[in-house]
Amino acid sequence: MLKTFAGALVLAGTFAATGAYALDVDPALKDYKKKAGVEGSLKSVGSDTLNNLMALWAETFNKEYPSVKIEIEGKGSGTAPPALISGSAQFGPMSRPMKGGEMDDFEKKYGYKPTPMRVAVDALAVFVHKDNPIQCLSLAQVDAMFSKTRKKGGKEDVKTWGQVGLTGEWASKPISLYGRNSASGTYGYFKEVAMGDGDYKDSVKEQPGSSAVVQGIASDKFAIGYSGGGYKTADVKTVPLTAKEGGKCFDANSDNAYAGDYPITRFLYVYVNAKPGSKLEPLRAEFVKFVLSKQGQMGTIKDGFFPVPSAVASQDLEVLGVE
């Protein structure tokens, strides 16, 4: 997964942030142009990480097409495949790629696989309280904190901040763990990439939303937790991470994410039920086009995620047969 991510981005090349914005979209992305006669209703069911982003897109899209009705529901990535299969949703935002089993269920009903669309880049952040002096963590250390199986090769169970090198009053303090609930794609992705598919400790406090994780950490000085990078507030800070023990640490910023240096970078997806060889009907096609346009990717920045490069966008548009 990580390899495909880095590959895709190297392929795309990086672009420099310009202009007045803190972060800007790839100037090569297409401008969205309104089309006539788009009407109907859309429903999106899926990821909670993408919930706000879908809502932002829906709002902006609605400005262009006021008579389009868009409903957004986000209770976790796991809810997207069943909704797509039953036809109750046209879009299934997911913060992780669909699993084999979910793909198969879909294929059983429709005879083809659902099509993923990469809509944003997220540096999945490991957050600590803003007063925490920690400078860097390796994935093995993170794994030893969160996992009881320690598949990443940590030698001992890490229970206190002293075990990862903090001194003074921090040394003896136990680490308090925050994470997402198991319906979340963030839960699954972190488990896969940061923990080598190991098991979470029972002491991880599972939160119902990405923002709830950040709020939990904000009010707990000795906490650590993972959540979408876009949910950062002034009360928490992100920990720079390294894939290798003793390697250089990279912070969860856009440059490191695009270069593939930050070890738990991921794409966020929206899955679409697109029959191969046939065109999407105008409403869905326009929404897809909008999401992967300059205006749509502005929304990505607004929600705190990183926009996708134009090469990724045009690749996905091609797969979906949308011009």
Binding site: A20, Y21, A22, L23, K34, A36, G37, V38, E39, G40, S41, K43, D48, N51, N52, L53, A55, L56, A58, E59, N62, P66, S67, K69, I70, E71, I72, E73, G74, K75, G87, S88, Q90, K130, D131, P133, Q207, P208, G209, S210, S211, A212, V214, Q215, A218, G230, Y231, K232, T233, A234, D235, I301, K302, D303, G304
Partner: protein, 576 residues
């Protein structure tokens, strides 16, 4: 002396024995005290909770001054002070502090104060809140001329106004109260309203007509096949109609485009504290005020206009800004629909159980089941509602009446109707139990009197029993309403969504759309509190929405109680 001693000797056992005879326990005082204590604790907790919610909710919309902090390292932070707290600076930070501050921190056992500023300008900074420790601030001031600008997108902007452009002509900016500025803003907002009206009414009509025709064609296709003559006719008709509609659509879009172009020529250029500039259209400006130069009346004006926006408009920016009108409407509509369903069903069931059914084992079993129904976790009702109402009932309705819309479900997914039915199921035990109690409380003599006068059983129930029981029944319905309006968990499964600005009642035939998903205040609180991007900015909105939900439930209950008391009075008059 001896007398006294004897007296004392005597009196000691005496007092002991009297103490034993009328001790606290026999007088029931411990029970009284613990009951009173428990009640007091309960009331204090409720009042404390309400005070917390209200104080936070009421002050959220008060405009706050903008503070500019110049740091000792040269960074400048401008924003509304949000909250402050004590913390222990790290040794590195401590070393940066001036000797004077170092001494002060040492005096305070190593603690220092820091303040969180809401800086806004998220599009420029990439962050909108920042903590500044007191010892890092070289200068703290509240300069004149700084403005707080609320925008349609990207959240607030804090800074100064550089210049304005009215109809493409650059104008010097004086103050926010300047008539040129106010007028430019007003006309831009009017234009936006006009655009919205064209889009919502004109274009919506066109699109709706087109969609209806398309669905009609699909219906013909389903009924008589793609190669039939009817299909060909309908197809030809659709082509004709859609050409006409397309023309209307083009004309309307041209109007919108014209207004948009005018809007693009009316802009305001803002500069943040560091000098970086940003130009926005007047139409994207919600409200701007000079935060540090406001008089009391102006402050009140901003406060009132913020509440008006909150109550009357649609949410913006993924629900973190703007208003909650669709959520208020959804909550009210759902509760009303629920009462319409639950009241007759509950009352009829109770009537049958109390008045007609043979009292026996079966009836007591039913009664026990009803009582147990009240104890089932609400989420179970949600699962039932989704599985039975939405998928089974709704799926069948879709297959029977809306085959042309499939695979897009119409009733076969969560919606207002299914939510109301699920909550009706959840609250029906309350109504049944209350009604049964009320019926049982009607004196036997009254029934017998009525029967003795020759009234039939139904006449007795209709004219004697039900009116007498009405206040009790109303109490049950009120309780059911209160329970239903505050319930969120089952609704998340059967129709409440994060965003559904389309109201379930509108000007399109059939005017009431029971199949639509809706927004709900309770879910809105959960969504803003736990799912919004910036938890910090969302928190005040949580309190405001909670205040609103509590107020709404109180209002509904108060109305119902007034109605009940009127009924009571009316029937009291007809008593002997």
């Amino acid at each position: 002396m001896t007398d006294a001693a004897a007296l004392q000797q005597e009196s000691v056992p005496m007092s002991k024995s009297t103490g034993r005879r009328t001790d606290m326990r026999s007088r029931g005082e411990p029970a009284l005290w613990s009951l009173g204590g428990a009640l007091a604790i309960g009331i204090i907790m409720i009042l404390g909770f309400l005070a917390l919610v209200f104080s936070n909710g009421v002050e959220t919309f008060i405009p706050k001054p903008i503070t500019v902090v110049t740091g000792i390292d040269g960074t400048v932070t401008a924003g509304e002070p949000f909250r402050s707290e004590l913390f222990k600076p790290t040794p590195e930070d401590f070393a940066k502090a001036s000797p004077d501050w170092q001494a002060r921190i040492k005096d305070a056992n190593g603690y220092a104060n820091r303040t969180l500023y809401r800086m806004g300008n998220f599009d420029i900074y990439g962050e909108d809140f920042r903590w500044v420790p007191d010892f890092m601030a070289a200068k703290i001031e509240q300069p004149h001329g700084l403005v707080f600008v609320e925008r349609m997108e990207w959240g607030p902007f804090v800074g100064t106004v550089k210049s304005i452009k009215v109809d493409g002509v650059e104008r010097p900016f004086t103050t926010l109260d300047d008539t040129a500025f106010v007028k430019a803003h007003e006309t831009a907002r009017d234009r936006s309203k006009a655009i919205r009206k064209i889009e919502r009414v004109g274009i919506n009509d066109v699109n709706h007509a087109l969609e209806q025709e398309r669905l009609g064609l699909r219906k013909v296709e389903l009924a008589s096949g793609r190669n039939s003559a009817e299909y060909k006719d309908a197809e030809a008709r659709l082509t004709g109609i859609s050409a006409g509609l397309q023309q209307r659509y083009d004309a309307l879009s041209a109007d919108v485009q014209k207004l948009r172009e005018i809007n693009a020529g009316n802009t305001i250029t803002l500069a943040e504290i560091g000098g970086r500039e940003k130009t926005i259209e007047f139409s994207a400006l919600v409200r701007a005020y000079a935060a540090n130069d406001l008089s009391f009346a102006q402050k009140a004006g901003v406060y009132v206009s913020r509440w008006a926006e909150f109550l009357g408009s649609e949410p913006r920016e993924a629900n973190t800004e703007g208003g909650v009108f669709p959520a208020i409407f959804g909550t009210a509509a759902m509760t009303l629909l629920m009462v319409i369903v639950v009241a007759p069903f509950g009352v009829i069931t109770a009537l049958y159980l109390r008045e007609y059914a043979q009292q026996g084992r079966l009836v007591s079993f039913v009664r026990i089941s009803v009582n147990n129904l009240a104890g089932v976790p609400s989420i179970v009702y949600g699962v039932f509602g989704l599985g039975f109402f939405a998928y089974v009932l709704g799926g069948s309705i879709d297959a029977l009446f809306y085959p042309e819309r499939l695979p897009n479900p119409t009733f076969g997914t969560g919606g207002l109707l299914w939510s109301a039915l699920t909550l009706a199921l959840l609250t029906v035990p309350v109504v049944i139990v209350a009604t049964e109690e009320a019926l049982a409380a009607v004196p036997r003599s009254m029934r017998e009197g009525s029967l003795a006068c020759g009234a039939s059983k139904w006449q007795t129930i209709k004219y004697i029993v039900l009116p007498r029981a009405m206040p009790g029944i109303m109490t049950g319905v009120i309780l059911a309403m209160a329970r239903g309006a505050g319930e969120v968990a089952p609704l998340m499964l059967v129709g409440v969504v994060k965003l559904a600005p389309e109201l379930p009642v509108d000007g399109m035939f059939p005017f009431v759309h029971l199949e639509r998903s809706f927004m709900h205040l309770g879910f809105h609180i959960f969504d803003v509190g736990f799912q919004s991007r910036n938890a910090e900015a969302g928190k005040p909105m949580v309190f405001v929405t909670t205040v609103l939900l509590i107020a709404l439930v109180t209002l509904v209950n108060a109305t119902a109680i007034v109605v009940r008391n009127r009924l009571k009075k009316r029937f009291a008059g007809s008593q002997f």
